[in-house]
């Protein structure tokens, strides 16, 4: 943006800070829900931008840059931070002011970063975040002295308190009103080792002169960690957390899902009553409302998954999970840092693959990308839920464990197990000669999550899901409805009209290929749109089985399946979806992320092969066991 008129010019702020400095909380507090999440062109680094208006009415654009300890640019997201700060990122306005967020309880690394940022010549404002926690712990900071020593204005802030945020807005105004001439040198060079040491010594000197540390460190974190990071108890706790998470996804979401499904059912019935029978009514009721409804029903589950992930992240638990899993995953050739991307992949492989940007090493990153789609993403939940509730009795085993939940848990374990095995194979065949990248991760002090910040995070994710439902999924549902409805059955034809449609032709064409898996032509048809988005397979099955009505559809698909499929087919179908060739958007992200079509094709083929073999084995065994 290069407006010449000063009064209407937008003011560009960039947030920089170390990981865990509370940057995102502050970003959320400043911008509220006025934020846009997208990607930087050419790379899958999340670009989070927001806007706010200062007390003087100035329009401010705020960019939340990826957290970093230095301007070294070791990973793609750290490169983004460096390039934006230096004003070298094409298509991104150079920031007028860099807000450097420092965790007031943990200044050592950030002060060095601040000194490094100062060298870029970009105007800086240091925000001492979590000042309240620091004070409570007995850390006292001479803010004015620190400001003088750094040669940069320093303010304190408490991201959750309105006053702190207001102060920040006011300071932005003051700064913008008398903006200094920016002297960003093109002569910026990465720091040498000796320069780094000099800066760290200077930072340590400033801390000695301006900060009084408490006599006692935060013992709570240490005490909690004694249990949470315990070699045995720690792993048990991690397993328990994951178990609770999946039980929650399955049981807590139920009432809300029923409410949604009832609403869509009512809407469908209303349409059926208002409109005359015919193509339009069928399109609206069976294609649009039933189709999109069958997918939207899963919004509560997606919200719960993201709620857990964001909460664990805010507590500071995610880094602990990476610590616990590092060696275990290392055995499978994975980096400890891969744990977080893989855990995000439980929600959706797309953010998971994007989160692999925290892995510096290219090969570690590629391995993680290749196996991320094996993690059970939330789009598989609809498929699992449907089949499980139709075929697995809702009994309790051992008195308290819900059998359906247990099967669900088992499916997740199967996904994880196969991902680890795949990683092992990839490493064994492709990169035998290579050493894994270093694992260095800060274990932040535990903190209570900020409710508002979590809420904004969940809201943003839910919005992304809804947008997807409104575009990809919607268009697929329309296509399925079209294929299942045309050409229409001739007058006086026997059997369901769908038998005469394009869908039936395609399905019957594919049937011989899928027959060894116990799949009939209806399943074969449903698998194709399942490529666009896995959850569409459910809606597609519904449409293909020509079941009318919304609420009835949700219950009745299950009933129809239970009466038409053998248990062996159902199990085979579940096995297929553990591996299911991932959705088109995942493939697109893989291509963009790896920068090559080759890896996209490799991923698709290996998952397709796995799915086929797994289903074949499952079906053969189940049939032999008399379940066919």
């Amino acid at each position: 943006m290069t407006h010449t008129d000063v009064t209407t010019e937008r003011f560009h702020l960039a947030l920089v800070g170390a990981p865990n400095s509370g940057k995102t909380s502050l970003f959320n507090a400043l911008t509220g829900s006025r934020q846009k999440v997208a990607n930087y062109a050419g790379v899958t680094v999340e670009r989070k931008a927001g806007a706010f208006v200062t007390p003087a009415g100035r329009q401010v654009t705020l960019l939340d840059l990826p957290g970093t300890y230095s301007l070294r640019g070791r990973s793609p997201d750290e490169e983004i931070t460096r390039d934006v700060v230096l004003g070298k990122r094409p298509g991104e306005a150079a920031p007028d002011l860099v807000l450097c967020i420092a965790d007031a309880t943990n200044l050592r690394l950030t002060l060095r970063l601040i000194l490094e940022l100062k060298r870029t010549g970009r105007p800086l404002l240091v925000v001492l975040n979590m000042f309240d926690i620091a004070q409570r712990r007995g850390v006292s900071i001479d803010v004015d002295a620190m400001s003088a020593a750094l040669g940069v204005p320093v303010i304190t802030s408490i991201a959750v308190k309105k006053a702190g945020v207001e102060e920040l807005r006011k300071r932005t105004d003051e700064f913008a009103a008398n903006m200094p001439a920016v002297t960003t040198g093109d002569g910026w060079k990465p720091l040498g080792l000796s320069e780094m040491k000099v800066l760290q010594r200077e930072a340590d000197r400033i801390i000695r002169e301006t900060v009084t540390m408490p006599t006692k460190p935060d013992t709570l974190t240490t005490r909690v960690d004694a249990v949470v990071l315990h070699p045995v108890a720690g792993l048990a706790i991690l397993a328990l957390i994951l178990f609770v998470m999946f039980q929650a996804v399955f049981s807590w979401a139920q009432p809300l899902m029923e409410l949604l499904s009832d609403s869509f059912g009512a809407l469908g019935t209303l349409v059926a009553q208002v409109l005359p029978e015919g193509i339009l009514q069928s399109f609206l009721q069976n294609g649009l409302i039933a189709g999109v409804g069958s997918v939207l029903v899963f919004l509560p589950q997606i919200i719960i998954i993201f709620l857990f992930i964001l909460l664990l992240e805010d507590f500071g638990y995610m880094a602990r999970a990476a610590f616990l899993m590092d060696r275990i995953m290392g055995g499978a050739g994975l980096h400890g840092r891969a744990f977080i991307p893989l855990l995000s992949s439980f929600a959706c492989a797309i953010p998971g693959i994007m989160a692999t940007r925290v892995i510096d090493n290219r090969r570690d990153r590629l391995t993680t990308i290749l196996i991320a789609p094996l993690m059970t993403c939330s789009a598989r939940i609809p498929v699992y839920t449907l089949i499980i509730s139709a075929f697995i009795p809702a009994e309790n085993v051992w008195g308290w464990v819900n059998l359906q939940g247990l099967v669900m848990f088992g499916l997740y374990i199967a996904g994880i197990g196969s991902a680890l095995a795949a990683s092992f194979v990839i490493k064994f065949f492709m990169w035998r000669d290579y050493q894994p990248a270093p694992f260095m991760l800060e274990l932040p002090d535990y903190k209570l999550p900020r409710i508002k910040s979590i809420a904004i995070g969940v809201y943003t994710r839910a919005k992304m899901f809804l947008q997807r439902a409104g575009t990809t999924i919607l268009s697929m549902m329309i296509l399925i409805w079209f294929l299942a409805s045309f050409p229409q059955a001739p007058a006086g034809a026997e059997g369901p009209a769908i038998n005469y449609s394009l869908a039936a032709m395609i399905g019957k064409f594919l049937e011989p290929f899928f027959a060894p898996l116990g799949f009939n032509w209806q399943i074969a048809v449903a698998l194709i749109p399942g490529m666009a988005a896995r959850e569409v397979a459910v809606g597609a099955l519904g449409t293909v089985y020509a079941i009318e009505g919304g609420k009835e559809a949700a219950d009745a698909i299950g009933q129809a399946l239970a009466s038409k499929w053998s248990l062996a087919t159902a199990l085979s179908f579940l096995a297929w979806f553990i591996f299911a060739p991932q959705c088109a958007s995942t493939l697109a992200v893989i291509r963009r992320e790896t920068g090559s079509t080759k890896w996209m094709v490799v991923t698709f083929l290996y998952m397709f092969a796995l799915a086929y073999v797994a289903s074949l084995i499952t079906y053969t065994i189940a049939k032999a066991a008399g379940l066919g």
Binding site: Y69, S70, R72, R74, N106, R108, L109, R112, L193, M196, K197, Q200, R201, D204, R205, M213, P217, T221, T222, D225, A226, L229, H230, P231, V232, G234, L235, A319, A322, F323, L324, D326, R327, I328, G331, G336, N361, Q435, P436, A437, P438, F439, M440, L441, E442, L443, P444
Partner: protein, 95 residues
């Protein structure tokens, strides 16, 4: 403050953080990142360690260790906690 650190000074104390047991408390004497088997080249590893606060004179304490081969370790470096693998911690000379 300048830190004068010579090779002879470090060779006397050859204790490496990567070999230290859980509960070890000490001070960083030097970074000697040219270790066999590390994934990053010496300079890059040293830079990385510096970024995470492993500087000469810093107080270190091994708080926790993993289940498999006591790896990785959680190290208190001054007032923050860093998780690091023993392999990379071999670059840190402590006393």
């Amino acid at each position: 403050m300048t830190v004068h650190q010579t090779a002879s000074e470090t060779s006397i104390h050859e204790l490496r953080l990567g070999n230290a047991p859980r509960g070890f408390i000490g001070t960083i004497v030097a970074l000697q990142p040219d270790i066999a088997g590390a994934a990053e080249s010496g300079h890059e590893l040293e830079r990385h360690l510096l970024e995470m606060g492993f500087t000469e004179g810093a107080r270190v304490e091994i708080l926790h260790q993993g289940a498999i081969q006591r790896d990785p370790i959680a190290v208190r470096v001054d007032n923050i906690t860093i998780a690091v693998r023993r392999r990379e911690a071999m670059a840190v000379v402590v006393k």
